[in-house]
Subunit: 487 residues, 2 copies
């Protein structure tokens, strides 16, 4: 796609069909993961070829052990061979090894290979930055084009893939429709200054559009356009036609804060469901999260054990506790009572009814409940977005929820949406929002409206929760944040 | 997420735990699709509740038939009841119907409902723009917040969902890892002027960054940043660590052309595989496309029959033909011979070896081969991007392919990538590209390089191919193109 060289030259080259046809071969790669999961009686009797990268070399007197990995497995395969066979090979090189598979005598590996021949596919000079020694996360971030070859990031992106699939599986089995809501959107954030604007920088070779007046800026879309901060509003369109839908895609915030919890580009999963009420929303969120956690733990056992061992020794204990117990459910008002009456901690930010929770308050609550996730529901309307539904029994509250988890804080935020035409219109006027911009959103309430709601899961925060990784930049393939846009 | 109203007021509201606890109910919605797939002996004996929207009302002397649909099925369920029961209800209203399910006497429907009671959930005044009559596609695009409630778009987005899932299924069963490559990227397109730039418009309330010099523009990322036109380059990082990966996400082009084939935001699926060669890539592309088509046809039979009947009467014939026959494989040079030697058509754009194919040439080729998809392989290097691998036998060619399908033209484009360090570096210098920008990409070839390649499928073009829809704006939930950014 990139770099099309436009110099077209004339060449009449003779057709060499036969020679070209020779090129067509069947696919011949065997994934390492498949090999390693073979059991003794099923091991092939013929020699097997494996392609991958050298992760480790151990030399003994006459024989050597190399670990070859193609990225499909945490451990890779141990290849045993004559010391001479390997002596040219360096850590990081790409190789093809051929040999017979045998059950290993060692404890860590089921299947290993007795080498017959090895071929170097791609060499690896000694200035390879990813050496087999301890590297800091900061350094690995610097070499983000190599870090996925390390054990930690190899495992991370297998887990990320599995979590993505577990999420799809959960929704699809319940008849949800995946909706690709637009990344480019017309709605500006409410003056928070946290949205990116999109500009078309026309090629200097092209004439400017002829209908522009002097001093007028050219908008490609005929109006200012932004990167979406959430697909929720558009997902509501589809909840009111297909009943159960979800989004799963990138969302954007121009966060100025350089923290371990914020990215400029991150992924959100946002289910939106017609015909549900506050209680359903909370129930579904709990069921959803537990199902995904269970599915990932079942399918990525070895990778999660690696994080438990190397990154966060409390990881599996904490995850299992969350799975085994019902999540805590507090109303905002109950949470405030707890926070204001407690004597154990002096908060830096004293809190009173009507205030948003700060990190220290969130941390106090999850700690109080022994690291089990805590739902805080029914928040004050005054600090929540316009679309949240007023609580039936108390007009100062909205039907919403935040799910707090240890260390991370808010993992899920959701609400029932105001589905009543007069109430929504009223709220939009009250907040002095631009009615014109939200005309379509208001109209959804005029024609065939239905109670509906949903929630958003921050995918990277979820991955932090799942793996114990401290910095959100280390759970996404290529992070984007203030002053960083490499690649 | 939107519209957080920051006026925080102090309220100490009494906790009403008991009343709030009452709200928590189990989920009670039954999806219509499940109901309709029930067979006679399994029909529930108790009354069933269904929630959905009224799609059709037919009145007879004493009884009425209404069609209720929740978006999970093309046909909806027929509800038979006393005429009086329905007399207040309008087309488009949201209702809850309760009654007994019985096997229908009619031909089109398996299960229908004998009404016991009906409750209006959301009314639908008569100025509802989506009336039960013929609407043009242009008009439906104008009311994109309602069009998903129509039969055509209801079916379209069920098919889009299924196609997405078939794609994930195909890759996952073969051990591919889904990689979320960044939407925001540093690489500028090669002067085509087709890329969008991202600007942060800081809130007027915030002070500007202090390290800016006079006249200097503030870049949030510390450098100019763009919306990606392809995730391929970044996917290559992961192909060289996890062997088999794919992307599935939005990509962007600032296309100035107002055509039925272009969007400013569209979805691409880009598998990238280590250890493959030209022939494998073509084989995999054919197997991939056929597998997805088969899976969608199996899972969305009724919806595809609808498109065959209402949109394109040749649809199923064409799809089945593509499935039953091997795709045609021509080299570019063979294609040029055919195009220049043929006597049947006079092309508007005469073509010679070294030129790119135009629409009329693509159309001629797919027609010549009876609407079976045609691979055109091994194109002139001079008109292809820098990253394509030089053909071993002929340095004027690259190891690539385009797949052409009837009406749409190019559906898939792919190649083997130049994996050799000196050759890639040389090519980048030859094309006077910025070495610094592509340093990381070049380094992938220095350390543990491996032969690799892949292809990109334009998802919306594929959906056009699958459904016969003429305009690409009608296969994506909310289209984005020049002068259009509603919602």
């Amino acid at each position: 796609m990139l770099g099309i060289h436009l110099c077209k030259r004339f060449y009449k080259w003779p057709t060499k069909i036969n020679e070209i046809k020779k090129l067509y071969n069947p696919i011949s790669t065997v994934s390492l993961n498949q090999v390693l999961n073979t059991t003794s009686p099923n091991l092939p009797t013929e020699p097997t070829k494996i392609k991958g990268w050298i992760k480790n070399i151990r030399n003994q007197k006459n024989i050597s052990f190399i670990e070859v990995n193609d990225g499909s497995d945490l451990g890779g395969i141990q290849v045993v061979g004559n010391k001479d066979a390997f002596h040219q090979l360096k850590h990081g090189a790409c190789v093809e090894v051929e040999g017979s598979l045998v059950m290993s005598q060692g404890k860590t590996q089921q299947v290993e290979m007795q080498l017959q021949s090895v071929k170097q596919i791609g060499e690896c000079p000694e200035d390879y930055p990813l050496q087999p020694k301890y590297h800091t996360m900061e350094f690995l971030r610097e070499i983000a084009h190599f870090r996925s070859r390390s054990n930690t990031f190899g495992a991370m992106f297998r887990i990320r893939n599995q979590a993505s699939m577990s999420i799809h599986k959960y929704f699809q089995k319940s008849g949800f429709v995946w909706v690709h809501t637009p990344t480019i959107t017309a709605s500006d954030c409410e003056g928070g200054g946290e949205q990116f604007q999109i500009k078309h920088v026309p090629s200097p070779d092209l004439p400017p559009p002829s209908n522009l007046q002097a001093g007028q800026e050219h908008h490609f879309f005929g109006q200012p356009a932004y990167l979406t901060v959430s697909g929720q509003l558009e997902a509501e369109i589809y909840a009111l036609s297909h009943s159960r839908v979800y989004t799963f895609g990138p969302t954007f915030r121009a966060e100025r804060s350089n923290t371990t919890r914020h990215l400029a580009e991150f992924y959100m999963i946002e289910p939106e469901m017609a015909f549900i009420q506050q209680a359903d929303n909370v129930d579904i969120a709990e069921d959803f999260l537990k199902s995904i956690m269970r599915d990932v733990m079942e399918n990525c056992r070895e990778d999660l054990e690696f994080f438990d061992k190397k990154v966060d020794p409390q990881l599996l204990v904490r995850l299992n506790k969350a799975l085994d117990r019902p999540f805590v459910r507090l109303t905002y008002t109950e949470a405030l009572e707890i926070l204001t009456k407690q004597q154990e901690v002096v908060f830096e930010n004293p809190i009173k009814w009507g205030d948003d929770l700060q990190r220290e308050h969130e941390r106090f609550l999850t700690k109080k409940y022994d690291d089990v996730p805590v739902f805080v529901t029914l928040w004050p309307k005054s600090i929540k977005p316009f679309y949240m539904r007023e609580n039936q029994e108390n007009p100062l509250l909205v039907d919403n929820m935040d799910l707090l988890v240890p260390d991370i804080g808010e993992l899920i935020g959701g609400s029932i949406r105001e589905e009543r035409y007069p109430q929504l219109l009223n709220r939009i006027k009250e907040l002095k929002m631009d009615e014109e911009t939200y005309q379509w959103y208001i109209e959804l309430r005029k024609f065939g409206s239905a109670p509906h709601g949903g929630f958003g899961l921050g995918f990277e925060r979820f991955l932090q929760y799942l793996t114990g990784m401290k910095n959100i930049r280390d759970v996404i393939p290529i992070p984007r944040h203030q002053n960083y846009c490499k690649f």
